[in-house]
Amino acid sequence: MKEIRFHGRGGQGAVTAAELLAVSVGYSGKFSQAFPFFGVERRGAPVMSFCRIDEKPIRIHQQVYEPDVIVVLDSTLDPNMMGKGLKADGIAVINTKLPAAQTGISASKIYTVDATGIALRNLGRPIINTAMLGALGKATGLVGLEDIIKAVRERFPQMLADKNARAVEECYNEVKS
C-alpha cells in the first residue's frame, strides 16, 4: 500500500486533490481511499488530506502517519509538520519556485514545480490542487496522466475542465527533481 499526504491551506483544495487522486487510481482497477482531516474550517488554516492506493481492498480507516509521499500545495507551511513521519525512502512533491535544497523539507527525493505560476497562466487564479496531481503522477508513477485528466473532466464543467487539464499536463511536464 502507498500512502500519500497532502498539505495545504483551507481553500486551496487539498481535499479535492486527494479525492481526484482516489478517483483517477480507481479507473485502473486498483483500490484507493481518500479522506480529509478538517481542523478549523476556515480559509488559510493548515489542512491535511490523505490518499491510500493498494492492489487489494483497503480496510483501514485512520489518518496517515508515515506517508510514502507528501504533496505540498503551499510551501509557506511549517516544513517540520509536513515532513513528519515521511518514510526514509519517501518522496516530497512541492509547489515552489525555489530549488529543492531551499524548501526546508527533508526527503530522500524532492520534486519541485511552480504550480502557482502554471495555475495563474491557465486558470487565472492560484488554484493548484489539480495541477499538482500532474506533478505527483510524473514524480511517483502512481497514477497516469490520462487518468488524472479523466477524473478532472468528470468533476468539472467543460470550460473549467479544459483549463485544469492543461495545468495538470504542464505540471506533469515541468516537474523536476
Binding site: S32, Q33, A34, F35, R59, H61, Q62
Partner: protein
C-alpha cells in the same frame, strides 16, 4: 458496478434507489453531504418529495407524518441534530412507524466537536429504534435497503449508523445498489394501518395507566424478537448480492480459535482486522468481533460466540456515572449464558481521537493477564 465515490454520495444514491416518498433533512456536519446530495437528486427529479425543514425536530416530525400516511420516509443527521430529535424518536417507535435514518455518528457537545464517536446514537438506545452499525461505505449502502425492509415489515424505525468523516467523507470503491436490484428486494410499503381521510383512525392516542405498560411491553418484545427479522433481511440481501456481514447481527473475524478478542462497532473494525492479521502472523491467537446490531442487542448469541475467551470491549461512547454501554450489556449476557469469559472495558476514539491499528494491537496485548481491565485508550 463499482465506482470510486464519496461515502455520502453513495448512501444518497442508495436512498434514491429505494424510491422514498418523503425525505426531510436539516444539514449538520458530518451528515450534511448526504442531505445535500439528496436535495440535488430531488432538484433533478430523482426523488418524489424533499422537505428542507427548519430543524432536526421538524425533520423527524415530517418523517412521522409521512410514515403514518403510508409513505416511505428517510432523513439523516448527526450529534446535536439527533439529540434535538430525542422526544420524537420515542414517538416514531411508540406509534409503530417505519422511517429510516442514516446517523453520521459524531461527538456531542460540550466541548464542541465535529468529529466521530458513537455517543449520539448510543444515547438514543432506549428510544425503540433499531441501530445497525457499519464498518464500510459498502456495508452502509447494503444496510439501507435492509433497513427499509426491516422497518416496514415489523413497524419499528431503523437507524443506519456510519462513522462521521471516516465513512461519510471517505472516497473509496463502492458498488452502489441500483434501482432494479433494490426493486427485486424491497416490496412496496403497505402498512397494516395508516392515516387515510377516507377511512379515519387515531394514531398516537392517549393510553391510561391500565394500558400504557402493555403497549410498552409489546414494543419491548417486538424489538427483542426483531433479531430474526434482521438476520432474514441480511440473508436475503446476501443471496442477491453475494455480500454478507457475519450473521447480520455480528461478524466474527478469525474468531473461532481466538483466545483474545477485540469487540467493537463501526469503521474501527477494519483497523481491528488488520491488527488481528499482523498479530496472527506472529502466532498470536487473536480475533475480532464486529457488533452490527446494537439495538436489538444480541446478548445471548454474543455470549455464545465469546465463550471461553478474553474479550476487550472497545467503545466510542460512555455512560457518565456508570460503565460503558456495550460492556455493561455484554457482561450481563455473559453472566446469564456463558460465565466462563473475561471481559475488559476500553473507552477510546471519543471526539475523533484516532484509533489506529497500533492502538488495537495494544488493547489486545493488554487483556492477556488474568484480571479484567477498565481503561481509556
Amino acid at each position: 458496478m463499482k465506482k470510486t465515490i464519496e461515502g455520502s454520495e453513495a448512501m444518497a444514491e442508495t436512498v434514491q434507489n429505494c424510491n422514498p416518498d418523503v425525505v426531510a433533512c436539516f444539514p449538520i456536519t458530518p451528515s450534511t453531504h448526504i442531505a445535500e446530495d439528496l436535495d440535488h437528486i430531488y432538484s433533478n427529479g430523482g426523488i418524489r418529495d424533499f422537505i428542507p425543514v427548519e430543524s432536526e425536530l421538524s425533520a423527524i416530525s415530517a418523517l412521522i407524518g409521512a410514515s403514518a400516511t403510508g409513505g416511505r420516509s428517510f432523513s439523516t443527521t448527526s450529534s446535536q441534530g439527533l439529540a434535538l430529535m430525542h422526544e420524537a424518536l420515542f414517538n416514531a417507535a411508540g406509534m409503530r412507524l417505519s422511517p429510516v435514518m442514516v446517523v453520521a455518528n459524531r461527538a456531542l457537545s460540550a466541548p464542541l466537536n465535529i468529529w466521530n464517536d458513537h455517543q449520539d446514537s448510543v444515547s438514543e438506545r432506549d428510544s425503540g429504534w433499531l441501530q445497525l452499525f457499519c464498518e464500510t461505505n459498502q456495508e452502509a449502502c447494503d444496510a439501507i435497503p435492509q433497513a427499509f425492509k426491516i422497518a416496514e415489515s415489523i413497524a419499528i424505525p431503523v437507524m443506519v449508523c456510519v462513522d462521521g468523516f471516516y465513512l461519510t467523507h471517505a472516497v473509496e470503491q463502492v458498488d452502489v445498489p441500483d434501482k432494479e436490484l433494490i426493486a427485486k428486494y424491497l416490496p412496496k410499503f403497505s402498512p397494516k394501518v395508516k392515516l387515510d381521510s377516507q377511512n379515519p383512525i387515531t394514531m398516537g392516542a392517549y393510553a391510561f395507566p391500565s394500558d400504557y405498560q402493555d403497549f410498552r411491553k409489546d414494543l419491548f418484545d417486538d424489538l427483542n424478537n426483531s433479531k430474526a427479522d434482521i438476520m432474514r433481511a441480511h440473508d436475503e440481501w446476501a443471496k442477491l448480492t453475494g455480500r454478507k456481514y457475519g450473521n447480520g447481527l455480528f461478524e466474527g473475524y478469525r474468531l473461532e480459535d481466538a483466545e483474545f478478542v477485540f469487540l467493537g462497532m463501526g469503521s474501527v473494525m477494519g483497523n481491528a482486522k488488520e491488527a488481528v492479521d499482523r498479530m496472527r502472523a506472529k502466532g498470536e491467537k487473536v480475533g475480532a468481533l464486529k457488533l452490527r446490531s446494537f439495538r436489538p442487542f444480541p446478548g445471548e448469541e454474543l455470549a455464545k460466540a465469546i465463550a471461553g475467551k478474553k474479550v476487550a470491549v472497545f467503545e466510542k461512547a460512555i455512560s457518565l456515572g456508570g460503565d460503558a454501554p456495550i460492556y455493561t450489556e455484554l457482561t450481563t449476557a455473559a453472566l446469564e449464558f456463558h460465565p466462563n469469559v473475561v471481559i475488559s472495558s476500553f473507552i477510546g476514539g471519543l471526539g475523533g481521537k484516532d484509533v489506529t491499528v497500533e492502538v488495537v494491537v495494544q488493547v489486545l496485548q493488554k487483556i492477556k493477564g488474568q484480571e479484567p481491565l477498565k481503561e481509556w485508550v
